[in-house]
Amino acid sequence: MPTINSIEDLKRLREEARKIKDMRDQTGKTQIVVGMGTIGIAAGARETLKEILTFIEENRLPDIILRQTGNLGLDGMDPIVKVTLPDKEEIAYCKVNTDIARRIMQEHVVDGNVLTEHLVKE
């Protein structure tokens, strides 16, 4: 599918995505959540989210649902990124700057290996 330049292109993309969705039924997607409370924003959460978007765009990654949410209640550990691969447990990372975000995307989301650093300790 070529680059999208209009709402018409977007409609074609939707139809294409629907077909794929129907074929795969409900096979899971990777969920990524970035905490965007006041402290998170001040600590760079917007840049972290933007880096993840850039990575998805550059690497043309399919089936990723990225969301932002308010304060995740883990003050002092922002920016926080939570990653849930299909049929896997949620993994929470803390102090995720743009470099760490890129590593999470490559090593965890693409290669499937959870990083050993920057994990939120319960």
């Binding site: 599918m1 680059t3 999208i4 330049n5 709402i7 292109d9 977007l10 409609k11 993309l13 939707r14 995505a17 629907r18 969705k21 997607k29 970035v34 965007m36 409370g37 006041t38 402290i39 924003i41 001040a42 917007r46 840049e47 989210l49 933007k50 978007l53 998805i56 765009e57 690497n59 043309r60 990654l61 399919p62 089936d63 990723i64 649902i65 990225l66 969301r67 932002q68 949410t69 308010g70 304060n71």
Partner: protein
Amino acid sequence: MRELALHILDIAENSISAGASQVKIYVNQNTRVDQLCIVVKDNGKGMDDELISKVLDPFTTSRTTRKVGLGIPLLKQAAEACNGSLTIESQPGEGTILTAKFQECHIDRMPLGNLADTFLTLLLGTPDVNFVLDYQVNDEVFHFDDSEVKEVMDGMSLTDYRVIEYLTNTIQTGINETNEKAIQQGVNYAYN
């Protein structure tokens, strides 16, 4: 916060927490009257007068009793330090309008910063909320309403790489063109 765009993101997060289904963001830089005006308007659950005074004051209550943190007092302080003001109009069930005004060329005025990234974070990261952006520099206006995109995508993920690329280009181009046209009309200061 290093930029006003980050404050705008923070204020919009309050609107989302308040259950808004629509958030409108107006940024108006008027060099003729030397004013930068930011308005965030939502249709969330609204606040009564008591709660408004609480969210404006950083000291009257502890964080456990309210969802809204220090973001609003910080922005209020930043506005007042630049001959400006911050006001909140709201009623329970009626939504909220937050207005922050700054003297445009005040030496202490924070840069507007990356408004495009703030808007992309909101609209891509919150698929169930409708966001509207109006960015104005004097007579030049960029208007973007994500409802058409969200209706077309019909609840499907917006974080498809092609959608990200399309929206990033549309919004960044719109803001850049507004700035360039304003510069052609003689506005001669840096936007970042």
